[in-house]
């Protein structure tokens, strides 16, 4: 199964974020609870943590990119060999937890 990882929300007063740092690289696997990516709001850093294991397959928003809340950040999958679609449109969102620090 292939999913899209989206900018979390709603966060009060936040319409857009900037990608700060990817902690998983394309092709790498992650476990439930792992930090996948940090994004920056106008006054805080938000950590996105996986709620299920998987593999990061393709990053769609590089570090430094700006994205609206809900926009796709990456395509992720349960395994490494399922063929990826052209883009993230229509992919189910990956469940994740996020913490605003």
């Amino acid at each position: 199964m292939i999913y899209q990882l989206q900018v979390p929300g709603p966060i009060k007063d936040v319409a857009e974020v900037r990608v700060l740092e990817w902690h998983v690289q394309p092709g790498q696997g992650f476990a439930a609870g792992d930090l996948i990516v940090e994004v920056e709001t106008h006054k805080a850093v938000v950590e996105l943590r996986a709620e299920q294991p998987g593999f990061l397959r393709r990053i769609l928003s590089a570090e430094g990119d700006w994205q609206q809340v809900g926009a796709p950040l990456a395509m992720v999958a349960d395994n490494t060999d399922e063929a990826l679609p052209e883009g993230p449109d229509g992919l189910p969102p990956l469940p994740f937890g996020f913490e605003v620090t």
């Binding site: 936040v14 319409a15 900037r18 709001t41 106008h42 006054k43 700006w66």
Partner: protein, 334 residues
């Protein structure tokens, strides 16, 4: 700024921090004073990184004592250095008016130019759910102080460029930002550049009516202009940016083209920014039809419904323009 100039997208707070960082590097005599501006990084993180780079001697946390803070900054400036004093909420600037108005603004005149007070007071105005004494916009009080300059940016690029100029001015400057601007982001030129004071900016051109505004109110004014465009009314939205000095030529040239002016502000109407702008415009363009929109004559509530009821928003701005243009249409020829 030219549209082609290379630019980078920054949060509003980052534009302020960048201006501070560049000028702190360029001016070893510049000090920053304020509540929570040290290791904490400022109430809106607009001082982030400065304490780490420049240390506690130049980036100083102060007690909650606004009169003392501004007095200290003015004294530092009069003694030959330069200071920026951060007053978290503009409401508390009232406590510090004596050193700013009676000392800093008058020092050059009192000493026949021998002493100057290059101090910037940076403060945050505006309503955002914090009630009667944490929401006020009192910039109109400060526009008539000889020797004091007053600027109020509406976007990250202007915050950067106007703060750069403020930090190089020979006299005192009041730099006013707004709580609702901090969540915004915008393009800021990559090249180091200051924006001169006394320079308004036309945010949206239009032939039917001029809207003058500043700070956060530029956003609902642009929304109102978009609403009215759908009705065939073309609004010219002028962001004053600098309240003292005012860029009268840009505003009057706009009103001379459109024939009508609506002034919009978040502060009170009586003796407000709009009263001053409208009168000065009428002195130059006597035939102009003018109207003003501002806060209702009441304190701003912390109840969000009552807060919104007291302040201009896009529908009220659009309605005021419809009334203004309707009265113009029905006007008896002179």
């Amino acid at each position: 700024m030219s549209a082609e100039a290379p630019a980078t997208r920054l949060f509003f707070r980052e534009a302020i921090a960048r201006a501070l960082r560049e000028e702190m590097r360029a001016q070893p005599d510049l000090l920053l004073l304020g509540q929570d501006i040290g290791a904490f990084g400022g109430p809106y993180r607009e001082f982030a990184g400065l304490h780490a780079e420049f240390g506690g001697a130049r980036v100083r946390d102060t007690p909650v004592a606004e009169a003392g803070m501004v007095a200290l900054g003015v004294g530092v400036a009069a003694a030959g250095m330069r200071a920026l004093v951060s007053i978290t909420y503009m409401d508390f600037l009232m406590l510090a008016l004596d050193p700013l108005v009676n000392y800093a603004a008058k020092l050059r005149f009192k000493t026949a130019g021998q002493l100057r007070a290059p101090v910037v007071v940076k403060t945050t105005a505006g309503a955002k759910g914090q009630g009667v004494a944490h929401s006020q916009c009192i910039e109109a009080w400060m526009m008539g102080v000889p020797g004091l300059k007053v600027v109020a940016p509406s976007c990250a690029a202007d915050a950067y460029g106007l703060l750069k100029t403020a930090l190089r001015e020979p006299g005192p400057v009041l730099f006013i930002d707004h709580k609702r601007l901090f969540p915004t982001a915008g393009l800021v030129p990559l090249a180091e550049a200051a924006i001169p004071f006394g320079s308004a900016r036309i945010l949206r051109p239009g032939r039917d009516v001029t809207i003058s505004c500043h700070s956060w109110m530029t956003i609902p004014c642009l929304e109102a202009a978009a609403l009215l465009a759908a009705e065939g009314v073309a609004c010219e939205v002028v962001d004053l940016r600098s309240l003292a000095p005012l860029d009268l030529p840009t505003i009057t040239a706009s009103v001379a083209r459109t024939g009508a002016l609506l002034t919009v502000e978040e502060g009170q109407l009586t003796c407000g920014v709009g009263a001053e702008v409208a009168f000065q415009v009428r002195e130059v363009v006597p035939a102009a039809r003018v109207a003003r929109l501002g806060a209702a004559a009441m304190p701003v509530s912390s109840n969000p419904v009552l807060e919104a009821a007291a302040l201009p928003d896009a529908p009220r701005i659009a309605a005021a323009i419809r009334r203004l243009l309707h009265s113009q249409t029905n006007r008896t020829p002179a």
